[in-house]
Amino acid sequence: MIIFWPRRVTFGAETWDGVVAVSIDRVGVRAVVEWSDYGPHPIFADSPELRTTITVSMEIMRGVVASPRPGQVAMLTVDISPNTSQSQVRRVTAQAVVVRVTHDLTVKKGAVRTIELLAVSSDGAADPITETLIHGMEPK
């Protein structure tokens, strides 16, 4: 999943401004593959261990000292709407741990902060990413 220009992004009590993109990647950490005695091709495969990574890219307009720290955990919310109206606003949420914060500085593009987070499940079985339709959304 990739989201461009989300309406609003929060991490715990903080609102992250200037977010240009949020991507959610799901990667199988370990694959189980089995073959049979009948031939060369696998007859069973599964991906029993997954890692869901959220990458937030944000423009930094002025020098800032505050920054999320690796290990910090909070609820990440990303609000998305297909247009500027308040209807059909969807909210993507995940309990997430910051694992990496980096900055890219160029003269043309300015400063871009990239925050990489690992989404954690409540019990190991539940999907760490939830998506809901939000009603009565306050203006951005």
């Binding site: 189980v32 089995e34 073959w35 049979s36 069973f44 599964d46 029993p48 261990e49």
Partner: protein
């Protein structure tokens, strides 16, 4: 075709492969069995081992335990020999089911599965 032991399809829930253990003569250095020097003492023919390596696959936790319990029920003491048949219909008679060992962890992904190694022996 499905494999079986005593006509039971114990391993058919998932992929499994057959192999044979070491065959030939059991031998020891002569000095171990009371000889002298560097010679070899022949003890006798090795018993045939048939090894099955595979994965039990189930839809969930309880279903996986059902498969495990079915296998465990065939691990008797002393073992009672039966006929083992592989996926191609090759048959070994008078085989004793000696051990069933789960390898590593249960994998809980799309399905619940656990890898295993089962050893059968034709006890002389």
């Amino acid at each position: 075709m499905a494999s079986s032991f005593k006509s039971l399809n114990l391993f058919g829930s998932g992929p499994h492969r057959f192999s044979l253990g070491k065959q030939g003569e059991l031998y020891l250095p002569a000095y171990v069995v009371g000889g002298s020097g560097s010679g070899t003492s022949l003890i006798g023919p090795l018993e045939l081992d048939v090894i099955i390596v595979g994965r039990l696959v189930a839809s969930g936790e309880s279903a996986l335990w059902t498969l495990r319990d079915a296998v465990k029920a065939q691990l008797a003491h002393p073992p009672t020999p039966g006929t083992l048949i592989d996926l191609y219909g090759h048959t070994w008679t008078n085989m004793s089911f000696l051990t069933f060992q789960e390898m590593d962890r249960v994998d809980r992904g799309r399905v619940w599965s656990v890898a295993y190694k089962a050893i059968f022996r034709k006890i002389a």
